[in-house]
Symmetry: C2
Subunit: 242 residues, 2 copies
């Protein structure tokens, strides 16, 4: 891992890094020398576009006593594209435009390669981050894509708790994997999310095998998660990671 830039935001140290071809950002407490648990921040891809919201989430995460890190998704942002991913996205936009149903085939082609590629990348980054002197386990995963979060929670034993953002376009194989998730979960659902099917999100929540799982549903659209909902997520992590 190479750190490529460093800046201070109030009491937070923000460092950009690359691991191979994967760009990422690490946020750590600016003034503490204690080792902190780590929260990995998931997002739908496009680090630059997502930066304001990610930096805000990171600041709140660090204020709650954690380090935070994120990486770019495959085929997003500055990373090399994929014709198959472009085709799947184009197919999705076409059916959404014409009002045709979003078929399982489109969802599978859109999401599964992303899950297959990004989860091993997250794990490789996790190896490196946990070797830093300022970072300590246990680790939480926070955010979307929810399909990435589900797979990550199933295959990576170092993920001890997760805050998942409910979303649709969950492939059936991921839905089945949800039944294998047993870590504590805190699921955020935007009740009137224009891009997501509410019933599918409730069914997915129901499928998780976790003994402790909590669903927090709030009003508003996809990007309208209220600030107090983020604070509740950090308190959930504090209960399980500290």
């Amino acid at each position: 891992m190479q750190f490529t830039s460093e800046k201070r935001l109030d009491d937070v140290l923000e460092r950009e890094f690359t691991l191979g071809e994967i760009p990422g950002i690490l946020w750590t407490p600016g003034s503490s020398s204690a080792r902190t648990p780590l929260i990995l921040l998931g997002h739908p891809g496009g680090l630059h576009r997502m930066y304001p919201r990610l930096a805000d989430r990171a600041r709140r995460t660090v204020a709650a006593g954690f380090a935070a890190a994120t990486i770019e998704l495959p085929w997003s942002g500055e990373r090399p594209g994929s014709t198959a991913a472009d085709q799947a996205r184009a197919d999705l936009h076409r059916v959404l435009h014409t009002g045709e149903p979003v078929t399982d085939d489109i969802v599978d082609r859109l999401v599964l390669p992303l899950v297959d590629q990004s989860v091993p990348e997250w794990r490789a980054v996790l190896d490196v981050l946990l070797a830093l002197p300022e970072i300590d386990g246990p680790v939480g995963y926070s955010g979307g894509l929810i399909s990435v979060g589900v797979r990550f929670a199933v295959v990576e034993p170092r993920i001890a708790a997760a805050v998942l953002f409910a979303g649709s376009y969950v492939p059936r194989t991921i839905f089945e994997q949800a039944r294998e998730v047993t870590i504590p979960l805190h699921v955020l659902l935007q009740w009137d999310d224009e891009g997501n099917d509410r019933q599918q999100a409730l069914d997915l929540f129901d499928a998780f095998a976790s003994k402790e799982k909590t669903l927090h549903a709030n009003m508003g659209g996809h990007t309208g998660v209220p600030p107090f909902a983020g604070e509740e997520g950090n308190r959930f992590f504090a209960r399980h990671l500290k």
Copy 2:
């Protein structure tokens, strides 16, 4: 209103009272002289039976900076019974036992008289409590029966926010009244509540007209609400009543 007993629980002053034939309990901070907002604690009836859980909720409510009060429901506990209420309860138990459907007629006879009788009683108690020097508005309602909470929120303008415990057996007229509720709501749902229908609870949550409404669903049965869910309810009240 007559205070009939007084005791101290750590830093909480607990006073039993009667208003006419209605028994109730008031909990206030034991050591502060500041006027505090008031949370009314709803419950399914039977003050003595419910006392341990009510006292625990009251202690947490007072610790969060509020006064708390509750009253006995009509035809419950030590209060005079009602043959109509007894008949409705017997009819419910009979159909639950035989596996027949719980008809609208049974739900109406079970719940509507209780709502019609108890909401004016709550309002009369509220008049008296708000005249006490240690109590100040605004007022929150917390708890079941959810049908009482819905009617109370619609007819009583002094109720500024409510934490409602999801439940079934909601009469259609109350479901329609839910569409008139506009105050901030925080709804607690036990996902695997053995006595309540989950879909009906989700439909009721959807029906509320409140711009700010939050659903917190947790695992476990009817009485298994985790302690952190109660704390989140108190933070909701702090956001809206302070």
